[in-house]
Subunit: 233 residues, 2 copies
Amino acid sequence: MKLHFVIAEAALELIPESLWRDPSVRSDEKRREMEPSQILLDRSVHHSAMLKLKDGFRRGRPDLVHLTLLSATSTPLHQEGQAKVYIHTIGDVVLEFGEGTRPPKSYARFRNLMEKMLVERPESGLVSVRESTLPQLLKSIGTDHSTGLSVQGAPVRLEALADDLVKRKNPAVVVGGFPRGHFLPADLKAFDDLARIDDKSLDAHVVTARVIYEVEKASARQLAKGVPGSSSH
Amino acid sequence: MKLHFVIAEAALELIPESLWRDPSVRSDEKRREMEPSQILLDRSVHHSAMLKLKDGFRRGRPDLVHLTLLSATSTPLHQEGQAKVYIHTIGDVVLEFGEGTRPPKSYARFRNLMEKMLVERPESGLVSVRESTLPQLLKSIGTDHSTGLSVQGAPVRLEALADDLVKRKNPAVVVGGFPRGHFLPADLKAFDDLARIDDKSLDAHVVTARVIYEVEKASARQLAKGVPGSSSH
């Protein structure tokens, strides 16, 4: 089993051109000595500019994306190459993280890295970047089963979900990388299942930590039992 | 059961006076238009100054403390008032977070809040601050049992540890808030148990997410069974 873990519709993007002339963007441009086209949109800095965006409530939260990414990449599952992590952004750009990559824990360094990646769009390396919708990404992964996680999904026990995932070869799990709202209809259609793992609404980084931990435990159970689909088969 | 969750010897402090004249500190002082005595020590900004500190490898990582704090406070256990979270810093200052408090997810906002708290040291509010060693903190909590988590500890199954915790009234769990190394001897002596929950060395934020999740599950199991010590007793 290799888990493909996707942070989808993530609130990560460079400042859109329509906001370049806003005072909050202009002063950030001066402070950082960078072009606005090369700066990450960030609600904690560009809040007043973002009021002009129609879907602004779903955008400009690189801090949430950072937390969620680290909750996935800091785990033994990822470090040992049993999970592959992707960020699919709200602008349909996919950042794919190489096996075992450790993204920076410092937010400023993460921000600088993401800006560089979104500007330069390298086709290979520790982080590779391409244009892709979420359905296109799931297709290109060649996943045999995809599960979206959402409060709109059917309630499942996370242990049972994890037991199901580890029986597959290339399962994909998708969490929303946005602060509020739900997956867009076009993306919902791409999932084989939509599951809800708690009766409360949980932050994406909490969901991520729990899913990956349960997959590690299910993987260990499977190995102990020696059932079909374990890594020895 | 109320879980007292402590991030201990945390790499969180204001810039020490011995570094105020260093060029990396001076330029940060200008950039932020603040006194160095009011700025958090941060390796990603003050690296060259920190080379002068003898125990610098354990200090100046507010990013790790932030991640670990959010892994604790974003959980249902904390949000529902069943966990109380404390940061004990390497300088023996304790920051106590009020029930259900949601610290900022943006690192810059977290940094600003911590600077304000460490300078002003409010005695009450959403975050209260006092001078205290770790043994003094554990004593003041009135905990009936404290468990330090460390790769130096005795291997335990995390589920079993959680089952044990939820049977108690005021258990304390302590994770290290430093990037490398181990608990100091004086703090080790204060623990009733020292436990190791994985054969790998895990980041503090990963340990935190897993411990709190397992405590939630153990709490639900206990409630389902109706055994002594459940919240109905």
